[in-house]
């Protein structure tokens, strides 16, 4: 070994040491427990014994035969559809309107982001108490004034939309900020060229701005799909999956299986299915960011 190679090895060893803390922490918290979950999904682990019995695909057969699991899957899909459209449209609309308003832009961005930076617990509890509560909330106010509306969280027909409404209320401001940052990167000469050619506002949006922010739009869609399959906080805080499982999601289904029924093998199987969706989306994610020149 030449001294130069030895020196490079030493330097590279130092760099491995520098990256070790991040990888070690992630390994202990995410990777190793993740591998254990993948194993536990094929066992009857009850969370107590250290030697659970191998049961093959029984957990998967059980969950796919369970109507509640299938309903959860449907709820996750509805949730994804809601989040791919409503906050995206609001985010794009408000970002386009803020693009030309330099003086008021900062104030609006701050206002729109306030629900986003508050804790899910705070947001959920305040909606439960002051909006949806049929006695003391805004719903209660309407009931006192002769309207027949009920707490939308209490009905199996509306609960999912009522929960999604709170989550969307807290989320869309994030998209406004991200889209606005992307729109501001659009080359001004393209916009001016379109104006010279007599394009109207809609045409400029459709043929100049929209193509320009396409990578950001795609990336946000992928993120939304991923996070829609992981959605937990607002659902668990507002309804815990009820009433009558009508807002059950894969995440709450797995959580209840583990911590209420102590069926950890089954919960692990659901966790694995969720990760499958995540992995699928992250392939898309890596594929989309592969155009990044720094990679």
């Amino acid at each position: 070994m030449t001294p130069a190679v030895a020196a490079r090895r030493r330097r590279s060893g130092k760099f491995y040491l520098m990256i070790a803390p991040a990888l070690l922490l992630s390994g202990v918290v995410v990777l190793i427990p993740g591998i254990l979950t993948a194993y536990a999904a094929f066992t009857d682990w009850d969370g107590l014994g250290l030697h659970p019995a191998w049961v093959g695909l029984a957990n998967f057969r059980e969950i796919f035969a369970d109507p509640v699991f299938r309903h959860s899957l449907r709820d996750n899909l509805v949730w994804t559809a809601l989040f791919l459209t409503i906050p995206v449209v609001i985010g794009l609309l408000t970002a386009m309107l803020l693009l030309r308003r330099r003086r008021t832009r900062t104030v609006y961005q701050v206002i729109y982001l306030i629900p986003y930076v508050l804790a899910p617990i705070t947001n959920a509890v305040l909606w439960l108490n002051i909006i949806y509560n049929p006695i003391s909330g805004v719903i209660g106010f309407f009931r006192n004034h002769g309207s027949a509306i009920d707490n939308p969280l209490a009905s199996t027909d509306t609960a999912l939309y009522a929960v999604a409404g709170v989550d969307i209320w807290h989320f869309w401001g994030f998209l406004t900020v991200v889209y606005l940052a992307a729109l501001r990167q659009t080359p001004l000469d393209q916009v001016e060229a379109a104006l010279v050619e007599g394009a109207n506002g809609w045409q400029i949006f459709r043929y100049v701005y929209l193509p320009s922010i396409r990578p950001t739009l795609q990336l946000m869609w992928v993120m939304i799909v991923i996070f829609s399959f992981l959605a937990f906080d607002y659902v668990y805080l507002l309804t815990q999956g009820g009433p009558a499982n009508s807002t059950e999601m894969l995440s709450t289904y797995a959580y209840t299986a583990a911590f209420s029924a102590f069926q950890f093998g089954k919960a692990a199987a659901v966790g694995l299915v969720m990760s499958g969706f995540g992995l699928l989306s992250s392939f898309l994610f890596v594929w989309l960011s592969r155009k990044d020149p720094d990679l």
């Binding site: 520098m18 995410v30 993740g34 536990a40 993120m223």
Partner: protein, 273 residues
Amino acid sequence: MKASSAPRAAGHLILAVFAVTALFPLLLVGINSLKLSTQIITNPLALPTTLAWSNFGEAWQYGHFATGFRNSLLLTATTVVTVLICSSLAGYVLAGKKIAIWPAVIVYFMVSMTVPIQLFLFPLYFGFAHLNLLGNVFAVGAVIAAMNMPLSVFLMRTFFLNVPKEIEEAAIMDGASTMQTLYRVILPIVSPGLITVSIIVGLNAWNEFLISSTFLQGNYTATLGYLSMNGTFSTNEGVMMAGAVILILPILAIFVLLQRYVVDGLVNGAVKG
């Protein structure tokens, strides 16, 4: 082009309507935090006629806020310090492509950013139970640090990528070691990145629900203490709203003061993440 004032006004109207949508529930919290329960039930939309400041004292007591704020601060500090140390080191190595396996590390972090908590929650829970770590805010802070690691590493990497190579080369030419170069020369340049990561990760840690509610088991954070009031205090909405104000005001103040970094972190995390 004709100066069209009607569309401009419509634009302002739309922006204002969404601003009201974002703020309306919070305004209701504000006005109702000073009302008596009976007044809220009569009309939650009315302004208070008397000021029931005692709501705040009761909320502070029954929401366990003294313990809660202390625990939340310790947990958040643990997460932020851990993340800053680990992600600045890893971001530097990855930005400079200083190890052969850097593409594999990036793919690992990308994948680990998208896995559900339910993939690692259950074995981790039993690991915690086995090691008697349930209820330990520092251990939970470390778990939340691991969950925020991919995003932070990518954010720091982006900031390191923007440091001109010549600066590092000059320092090495002058005989500085790798660590000296990193801590004395490069870290000061990326300090806006460190602030951005601290704020984004700090907010995530402060607001975290699933891991802390599962692992802390009655050792309340500020938000978990407040959650424990819900239901038991549904008879006194004024106290519930005062509790919400206690939680919202500090976060609101920090956010408004540091909004530039928050926006910066969200945008960079979203575009580069």
